[in-house]
Structure formats: C-alpha cells, structure tokens
C-alpha cells in the first residue's frame, strides 16, 4: 500500500529535464509545462494513437516512426489519410526542446501548438481538434489517463497538446558515437577525424554542434521542383529575401532518415554531397557560405561520410521508452 502511494507520487512529481553536458540551455520553457511521468506517458499514448485522425487510420507515428529517428522513411513526400500525398518530407523528430520554430518553413512558433498542423491538415490527419477531444472524452481509456496526468478527467485541447509536447520533449538523441567521443569515452578513427575536420570547415556554420543545426533558414541552392514550386520560408514571412529558404535540418541520425531535403529529393547521402559539390543553383537568396560552392575530392567525401555516420544514435532509435506503448493498447489497435 505504501509502495503504491510512493509510486503514484513518483509518477505525478515534477521531473527535471536533463540537459546533456555541454549542450545549450533548452529553448522550451519547462516551467510552463513541467514534465511528469504520467503526462509523458499520456503524450506517448496520443502520439501512437490513430484516434487523432478523422477516420482513426493515421497516428503521429505513421509519419514519424522511431526506427527512422521519427520520420517517414523512403517517402519523399509524406502521405496522410486516404493515401493523400503532402507537399513536404516529414522532418525527423529529435532534440525538439532546442528548436525555436517548427516545420520546414518555421510556420509554427512553439512546440505546444505544432501538433495542430498535422491534425488539421486535410492531406495529413484531416481532423478538427474539438472532434479529437470529444472522441477522447468518450473513449474508455482516456478520461482516466487525463485524470492521472492532470488531476482532472476533462479532456481539453490544451491538455492534449501539452502532453504531446511532453512526450516529444523526451525525444533526446545524444548517444551517438560522436557524443561518446566528445565525452572522452571513445575516439574517432583516422577517417572519422579527417571527416570531422572537413565538417568543421564546410558544414558547421549552419549545421552547428552539438545539435548540428543553427535553427536558421537557408537557401542551400536546390533547383526549384516545378511540380511543387515550394518557396519555403517566404510563404510565412512574406519577405522576398526568404524565397527558397528552409529550416536547416540536423545532421544527427542521417542513416535512419533518408530521403533528404524538404521534398525528399535525394535518396542517399552521396547525392546530397554531390549537390553541394556541383549542384548549387545561384539565386538571390543563396546562402553566402555556398556562393563559391564546396570543393570536396572523392576522398574528402569518403571521410565526411565516415564522420556523418558517427552521428547515428542507435540507442535513440531503439530506446523502449520512446516506442509504441503496446501494453496500453489492445492488440488490434494503435499505430
């Protein structure tokens, strides 16, 4: 009995978000949404539950699967409900506590409201938030889970969004080989070290350590795909200077997150490196760093690739705390 009470207290008590050593302070304000085990677990249930979509066929995990560092692997453009095809490659989810903005064009300014976009997008989940809360309120499972998390079984949009944020905030990837090297518990091979030096020369101004993104928007010289005519950031900022700029993605977990770029046009990293070496299109908003292109020999590409592979975090893609909570679902549902 005492043990049960202790356990209960533990699951509702505030958890401290652990910032990895040497990493910057998170952007997310945890004081406004303090982590608790029950809220994280509610968020995890919701993340994997297709009840969020109009016809209960698509969950967040449909386009953000753990095996792929929470993206939709092998799809250039992600597909949603009724096999409708979206207009962009689903981003890999990790280290979201350090993100200032969300989506390829930064349309969303806060993690708590990010989920509204896929839930309501007709090409993704095509659902309305009041319908979701109504379905959850009527379900056998969720009122009790909301009670455990919030001390109140009434399902609201805010609680749903805050708990989804909590689960997503726990998705921290910092156990790649690179991280072990930085912690001094492993060493780069000669090839990896050469690649690291090349990375620091050619890539690090945008893909800055330790998150491997500087959270800015850049035009990296991709030719415009005229089947999409995606102007990127400009559609949100309405500034011509932002034409063709997209958010700089992280270089972590590239092994799991192919294809690459906002429209998934490159199937492998070789194509990505070749783009930087010889594919850059000169348009007025091209990144200053890319004006003269990047010169890499074949050896350089090989070394760079060796370094990039040290950023893959196997523990991240296999961590059971992030996986489908199968004990909470019936065998016939979920995902």
């Amino acid at each position: 009995m005492l043990f049960a009470v202790g356990l209960l207290a533990f699951r509702t008590e505030k958890l401290q978000f652990a910032t990895p050593k040497g990493w910057p302070k998170p952007v997310y304000d945890f004081s406004k949404n303090p982590l608790t085990q029950n809220k994280i677990e509610l968020g995890r249930m919701l993340f994997y539950d297709p009840v969020l979509s109009r016809d209960s066929t698509i969950s967040c995990a449909s386009c953000h699967s753990q095996y792929n560092a929470f993206t939709h692997v092998d799809h250039d453009l992600s597909h949603g409900i009724d096999n409708r095809i979206g207009t962009r490659n689903s981003p890999a989810l990790m280290n979201l506590a350090w993100s200032k903005t969300f989506m390829w064009d930064g349309a969303v300014n806060h993690l708590d409201v990010q989920a509204l976009a896929p839930i309501t997008n007709p090409l993704e989940m095509d659902e309305k938030l009041p319908d979701v809360t109504r379905k959850l309120q009527r379900s056998k499972r969720y009122p009790a889970l909301f009670y455990k998390a919030f001390g109140d079984s009434v399902v609201t949009g805010q609680k749903l969004l805050l708990s989804l944020s909590q689960f997503m905030l726990t998705l921290v990837s910092n156990n790649a080989r690179y991280d072990s090297v930085m912690r001094g518990t492993a060493a780069f091979t000669e090839h990896e070290q050469k690649g690291y030096t090349l990375y620091k020369t050619h890539c690090s101004s945008c893909h800055a350590e330790p998150l491997f993104t500087n959270n800015s928007y850049e035009n990296n010289g991709l030719y415009v795909d005229n089947t999409l005519n995606d102007k990127g950031r400009m559609a949100i900022s309405i500034q011509a200077a932002d034409s063709l700029k997209f958010k700089v993605p992280t270089l972590r977990n590239l092994k799991y997150t192919y294809p690459y770029m906002h429209d998934g046009r490159f199937k492998n990293l070789g194509q990505v490196l070749n783009h930087y070496v010889m594919g850059i299109q000169h348009t007025p908003s091209l990144s200053p760093q890319l004006q003269r292109g990047i010169y890499l020999t074949n050896d350089d590409k090989f070394f760079l690739m060796a370094f990039l592979m040290t950023l893959n975090d196997k523990r991240y893609v296999s961590n059971p705390a992030f996986s489908y909570p199968k004990n909470n679902f019936e065998t016939s549902e979920g995902l």
Binding site: V108, V113, L116, L129, Q158, S165, I236, I238
Partner: protein, 227 residues
C-alpha cells in the same frame, strides 16, 4: 426593437447591475442597430443581400479609466464572443470604481500567440488558433452574398496576425461619462461592410496588410449602443 428588448431584458435579469458596483457589458454584432441573427438576409446599400453564418471575436484586457488613467482591469483578460452562444456575449466586471472610459482590445496579444497552448477561451480547440501557421485569429466573420464569386458565394474573414507590421490587434476606447452599470457595445457590421467591397475582398485567412486594415476598420466602428 430587438436590441432594446435585449437591453431591457438584461436590465431586468441582472440584479447585480443595480447594486452600483458591477458593470455588465453586452457585445453585440449589429446591422441597422439590431442584433444580427445567423442566416437572416440583410440588404447592402447596393441593394445586394448578404447573410452571416458566424461571428466570433476575442475581446481582451477590458479596463476602465478616468482621465486617461487606468482605474480597473478585468481579472479575466480574454473573452471569446460568439454569436452562436449568446451567453458569451455578456461580460460582467465585478466591483468597479467610478469611470469615464472603457477600453479593450479586439483580439489576442502577441505574448499569447507565441507561448504555446492555453486554456479556457484561448484553448486552440475553440477554433480560433491557426493551425498551418502559429497565432490566434482575432476575429472570424463568415457568411455569404451573391456578390462573392466564391464557392457557395461565401465570404470568410479570418483576421489575425501578431508579428511586426502585420500585428492585427486593435485597441478600442469608448467614452461614457454617465458611467452606467450596464452597456451594450455595438459591433456594427453594416458600417464595417460599407468599407469593404465583397466582390473584391471576400476571403482573407492569413495575416497581412489587408487583415490589419480590416481589423482597424472594425475597431473604428465599434460604439456604445444608443450614443
């Protein structure tokens, strides 16, 4: 006639207002000084018709002032006024001091638009938060008119925007030296529509210059009923 009846009804039903300490506000979208009823056809000066299917707006940070100095501010800063839910159109300010001026903002301030998901009237499930791009929608006015060359002749004004020059939050200041305990705030959509050509402007659902202009125009026509 209907509005007068509403005022009379509210005076009758609100004994609190008679104590001299509370202020009961009614926010009412009107056409020809009458409360708008959803689905009723109204006539534009051009003899074209229009009807409204929905009117929703945020009224925020209501305060009272004397000679430009704030003497009271609403403890509940955000109210979503929804024509489809009449109880939302009444706002009671308890324990008010003497005042000359009523102030409020039409919309939600940028601080709330950049700080995630909120509760109550600000809960995104109220449908007043943009999903494809962050930020609150300050007001939604929807309906139809044969003037609109759109699907089902619909017009949809979703007016918002919080950043920089696209900030569509507008302030309203109304003078009332009588300092009554009850007031009807008219939101005259007829006066607002007079400044809009529905043939040209009928679908605005993103922040920008037009949204800011429409918000300013709406704020400029808001007045105390009967004055």
């Amino acid at each position: 006639m209907q509005l007068r009846f509403l005022v009379w009804l509210c005076m009758f039903c609100a004994p609190l207002a008679a104590t001299g300490q509370n202020l009961l506000l009614h926010f009412v979208p009107t056409w020809g000084h009458q409360p708008i009823a959803a689905g009723t056809y109204y006539k534009l000066p051009s003899d074209d018709s229009l009807q409204f299917s929905s009117f929703r707006c945020y009224v925020s940070h209501i305060s009272l002032a004397v000679k430009g100095k704030e003497v009271y501010s609403d403890a509940n800063p955000y109210h979503l006024i929804d024509m489809a839910e009449p109880q939302t159109m009444n706002v009671l300010l308890p324990q008010i001091p003497k005042y000359y001026e009523l102030r409020f903002a039409l919309g939600v301030d940028s601080a709330m638009s950049v700080s995630g998901a909120h509760s109550g009237d600000l809960d995104p499930e109220k449908g007043m938060y943009w999903a494809w791009q962050s930020g609150y929608i300050n007001f939604k006015i929807e309906g139809s008119s044969p003037l609109c060359n759109t699907r089902r002749n619909e017009f949809q004004f979703h007016i918002g925007g919080y950043a920089g020059k696209d900030n569509a939050l507008v302030q309203v200041t109304l003078q009332n030296t009588d300092a009554p305990n009850e007031m009807t705030i008219e939101i005259p959509l007829d006066a607002w529509m007079q400044q809009t050509d529905l043939r040209r402007q009928n679908t605005i659902m993103s922040p920008g210059t037009e949204a800011v202009q429409l918000a300013r125009q709406l704020a400029s026509v808001i007045k105390i009923a009967g004055r």
